[in-house]
């Protein structure tokens, strides 16, 4: 690593590079999406607890992170529970970590009557996300895609109602779960509208639909149909924007059921990317999957080797974006983020 390295300079902006994928053309090199979320606070040098409660700070942090790293996608995000938070779930905030669920809104089934589609101007931290989105689009939106990330219906449901109860009710009270998912879906559809109004890309995260938690059968019944409605809405109202889905953890058992949701982009975590490519074919652009814990713990040389290995697994690398499997940990050394992006420049070229 370091001074000995050489690779051709980028001749596309991040935006042009990503648009190449959408047009079905080969970019100069593959795009790099290290999933920089709360880590952006570190780049700006502000506490994570300030970053995730102040739209200006959040926006400025992502602009600063993009200017530092030049990654190919800005992701406005703090937790997967943000939509549920705006719908009434209480979060616990930390100075130096992302918020976590403190008290879910629903304690008993009858509490479903309390679940409302949020007001995007004032409930929870939705306004924080949207302000951060506006700042990034205004400042760097001509050079890089800005996305706003939120939890899918199943993940939102699991933040409104404890996940241990929700998973049991998939079997015991399926009808009630569908009712809850319906409201979460409607909230998601509205969020998509708000994101499009700001000329950003909505990205759906559905970690609770991971194969570590639900079976393909339950994914097919409770996760895919609602995700598909979000994807359809993005396709219908997004003016050519792709529908992008991130699921952390082990998703391999659910690949087939995931196809039903009709997303154009999958961001994957603890899976074999070669297997994912086989399952998804050329229909889906794949993002993945440098191990997030390795981003935090390994050296830049190791990250380079891991990224190289992933690129090799992807064969022709068409429809592939090099990324981290999940959030780049808050305290990741910047050199590791740079190593991931440089790996895309080294092992993902189409111009030679």
């Amino acid at each position: 690593m370091g001074t000995m390295e050489s690779f051709a300079a980028d001749n596309q902006t991040s935006l042009e590079r990503v648009l190449s994928y959408l047009k079905g053309e080969k970019p100069q090199r593959i795009a790099a999406f290290p999933l920089i979320l709360n880590h952006a606070a570190r780049v700006l040098g502000v506490p994570v607890g300030v970053y995730n409660r102040d739209g200006k700070v959040m926006g400025n942090a992502h602009v600063a992170a993009w200017k530092k790293y030049g990654h190919d996608l800005i992701l406005i995000f703090s937790t997967t529970s943000t939509l549920a938070e705006a719908m009434g779930t209480k979060m616990k905030f930390f100075d130096e970590d992302a918020p976590q669920i403190d008290v879910p809104l629903i304690k008993q089934h009858s509490d479903i009557s309390k679940v409302k589609i949020p007001d995007f101007t004032k409930d929870g931290r939705l306004a924080v996300y949207l302000e951060a989105t506006e700042i990034c689009v205004a400042e760097v939106g001509s050079q890089v895609v800005v996305s706003t990330v939120f939890g899918g219906p199943f993940t939102t449901a699991a933040a409104l109602y404890p996940v241990e109860l929700l998973t049991r009710d998939l079997i015991k009270n399926p009808k009630w779960v569908h009712e809850l998912l319906e409201i979460c879906t409607q909230a998601g559809l509205k969020f998509i509208d708000e994101i499009f109004k700001r000329k950003a890309l909505p990205i759906i995260v559905e970690p609770i639909g991971s194969g570590s938690l639900v079976s393909p059968r339950h994914f097919h019944e409770f996760v895919a149909p609602y995700l598909k409605r979000l994807a359809d809405h993005i396709h219908k109202t997004g003016g050519g924007m792709p529908a992008a889905l991130h699921i952390c953890g082990k998703t391999t058992p659910n690949f087939r059921a995931m196809l039903e949701a009709d997303f154009d982009i999958w961001s994957l975590d603890a899976v074999d990317m070669g297997e994912a490519k086989k399952a998804a074919g050329h229909r889906v652009v794949l993002i993945g999957n440098v191990n997030p814990a390795n981003m935090l713990k390994n050296t830049a040389v190791e990250i380079d080797a891991e990224a190289k290995d992933i690129c090799e697994k992807m064969g022709d690398r068409i429809g592939f974006i090099l990324g981290s499997g999940c959030e780049v940990p808050i305290n990741t050394p910047p050199a590791n983020v740079e190593a991931l992006i440089n790996a895309a420049r080294k092992y993902g070229r189409f111009d030679n």
Binding site: E96, D97, D102, E164, G211, L213, S215, G249, A293
Partner: protein, 219 residues
């Protein structure tokens, strides 16, 4: 008509395996009524059903929802049978302390591991989630544990596991316990790096590793 022991035990096992809490409650009462030994009903009825569920979990036939409902049925049966356990009939068990590291409130994975250890005859002391690191050490000393199990889903809290191991070393009691770790960002490499004795990437794997670590260790 009084049914045979074998039939009742099979019904208990099937009830757990089929996630049928109502039937397990019914058959547990029947077991008590016909005078079956409570420990026999648990160990040769409920537990085999739960372990069968664990095998299916391993094979990705059962997932979290199924495993949780099986465990609900198992615990409902144990609730009924426990008051009927004969004094002194319960053998000494391997004891373990389990919890989610401080700073992390995600505990579904930890709870699955706890269930599977319960079903494998370990005495489980569950510290819950967001557990102050010193509590792992204190509790392990207090109950004279054999095994300390730590879990986390987050990269921000994984270093807490190394801290607990350091605390054990500082007190000169590292060798008194086996330490096992797991959770989303955790890997065998990380376990090796921090000097943990074992790592597993799912709940039934955790029990396998836990049992291996107990080989040669006196109860």
């Amino acid at each position: 008509m009084k049914r045979e022991r074998g039939d009742i035990l099979k019904d208990l096992s099937d009830g757990v395996f089929n996630m049928n809490e109502e039937l397990v409650i019914k058959f547990s009462h029947e077991a008590v009524a016909v005078g079956l030994d409570a420990l026999d009903s648990i160990n040769n009825g409920l537990i085999p059903g739960m372990n069968k569920a664990g095998v299916l979990f391993d094979q990705e036939e059962y997932f979290v929802p199924e495993l949780l409902l099986c465990s609900d049925a198992m615990y409902a049966g144990i609730e009924i049978l426990r008051p009927h356990l004969k004094k002194g009939s319960v053998k000494e068990k391997y004891k373990l302390v389990i919890g989610v590291c401080e700073g992390d409130t995600h505990d579904i994975g930890k709870n699955l591991v706890k269930i599977m250890f319960d079903a494998s005859g370990f005495e489980v002391h569950d510290l819950g989630r967001n557990v102050p690191l010193a509590s792992f050490v204190e509790k392990a000393k207090e109950v004279d544990a054999h095994l300390i199990c730590m879990s986390t889903l987050m990269t921000t809290t994984m270093d807490g596991m190394a801290t607990v191991i350091e605390m054990l070393k500082e007190e000169g009691i590292r060798d008194s316990f086996k330490v096992m770790i797991g959770g989303g960002p955790i890997s065998q490499a990380f376990a090796n790096k921090i000097g943990a004795d074992g790592y597993a990437d799912n709940a039934s794997g955790a029990v396998r590793v836990g049992k291996e670590l107990m080989t040669g260790v006196a109860v």
